[in-house]
């Protein structure tokens, strides 16, 4: 009957060494990591650079993906509305520019200038940040709330429920989630899905 012990042993091992589990990214309630990534203006940006912020709208997005492009204006609007209230947008391009040349640092600079991005647009050059967050597509939002020295994940998912037409989007998920946090409430829904472009990993 030794064979029956194997699953039990495996479970015990997993319980003892949870870090050996494959990383699937954050769930709502998890502590998010800070980062130090290069912005399109050449500076390095961290969450710690914003002592006055109540939280952050972290958005993994990029130049090339039509879904990202469709949301550019809405991302700018989110930053303009919520930065003064303590929730600035931080955009991060997770793609490897060798796989997706349109997402190079230079092209990011061009796009940020063209569109007049009001928020940092960072490059996850080593591709180490997006897997920790568990971003799988662009755009992919992680709404963080500061809690003492921690950044707690409060919402994960889509910006709203209609990529093709902002007029038809009757569920502004991110705006509602930030409003809930500002009012001291828990966002609902706190997780949504959307179609997006897969993240282009280094080959």
């Amino acid at each position: 009957m030794k064979r029956n012990m194997l699953p039990v042993l495996a479970l015990l091992l997993l319980a003892a060494f949870p870090h050996t589990l494959p990383a699937n990214g954050y769930g709502v309630g998890d502590k998010a990591t800070d980062f130090r990534l290069k912005n399109v203006d050449g500076s390095m940006v961290s969450l710690a650079d914003y002592p006055g912020a109540k939280g952050f709208i972290v958005i993994f997005t990029c130049n090339h993906c039509p879904y990202s492009v469709a949301y550019e204006d809405r991302i700018i609007a989110l930053d303009k509305k919520y930065r003064p209230k303590g929730f600035p947008v931080i955009a991060i391009n997770p793609n490897d520019p060798k796989v997706q040349p349109e997402d190079s640092f230079e092209k990011m600079q061009e796009r940020a200038k063209e569109k007049g991005f009001t928020f940092p647009y960072l490059l996850d050059e080593e591709q180490t940040i997006y897997p920790q967050y568990g971003a799988t597509r662009t755009p992919h939002v992680f709404l963080l709330e500061k809690n003492g020295g921690d950044y707690l994940v409060r919402y994960i998912g889509a910006i709203d429920n209609n990529h093709s037409d902002p007029e038809d989007a009757d569920e502004p998920y991110v705006a509602r989630a930030v409003d809930a946090l500002l009012a001291g409430n828990t966002p609902h829904p706190d997780m949504t899905k959307a179609i997006g472009c897969s993240i282009k990993r280094k080959k």
């Binding site: 990529h163 037409d165 569920e171 899905k193 179609i195 472009c197």
Partner: protein
């Protein structure tokens, strides 16, 4: 009294039958049809219209791939899916390519692409932007990134959020065939 139809007339009748793409016979009723120069693409504006494809158990291996013309990794693996549709097999395979191309780009991008590729696989458009309402119905493990592929055979379901190589796709298809020798 018996009516005799000459074989030549029968042959003539066969070739004048409307040509329906392989696999298209069993498609649900679309919202509308995108048609140009002999290319006909059914457009579904609500996921629920396509829902039977994902739930109906069938002894035909159904391969459903979500893609778009602007999605480079999707276009890269598309020929392997089309090969599946072209291959002659003992077991029937139905390949359905669900395009998520944007509404405004169907005439400009999708139709020229289809004209150039001459795909044997069935192509349909899903134009239902409220994706959070239907992604989990395809598969709860799908994050929403494309390409994404679902294979259905009887009660067996295999979902992959990945770009396939030719070998990977064939290995998976063969493994799903084995259950129905």
């Amino acid at each position: 009294m018996t009516v005799r139809i000459s074989p030549i007339i029968l042959l003539f009748m066969f070739f004048t039958l409307p040509r329906v793409p392989v696999g298209a016979q069993s498609l649900p009723e679309p919202t509308r049809l995108l048609a140009q120069d002999g290319i006909r693409v059914p457009i579904y504006e609500g996921f629920e219209q396509l829902h039977p494809l994902f739930t109906h158990e069938t002894d035909t291996l159904r391969v459903i791939n979500f893609w778009a013309t602007w999605c480079a990794p999707c276009v890269e693996e598309l020929p392997y899916f089309d090969e599946l549709a072209r291959e002659q097999r003992e077991q029937p395979v139905q390949v359905i390519l669900i395009s998520l191309d944007f509404r405004k780009q169907l005439e400009k991008r999708l139709l020229p692409f289809l004209r150039e590729r001459d795909l044997q696989a069935t192509v349909v458009v899903l134009d239902d932007p409220d994706a959070d309402s239907w992604i989990d119905a395809v598969d709860p493990s799908w994050s929403g990134a494309i390409p994404a592929t679902l294979l259905l055979h009887g009660t067996r379901r295999e979902f992959r959020e990945q770009t396939f190589t030719r070998e990977e796709l064939h290995t998976l298809v063969e493994s799903m065939m084995e259950e129905y020798p």
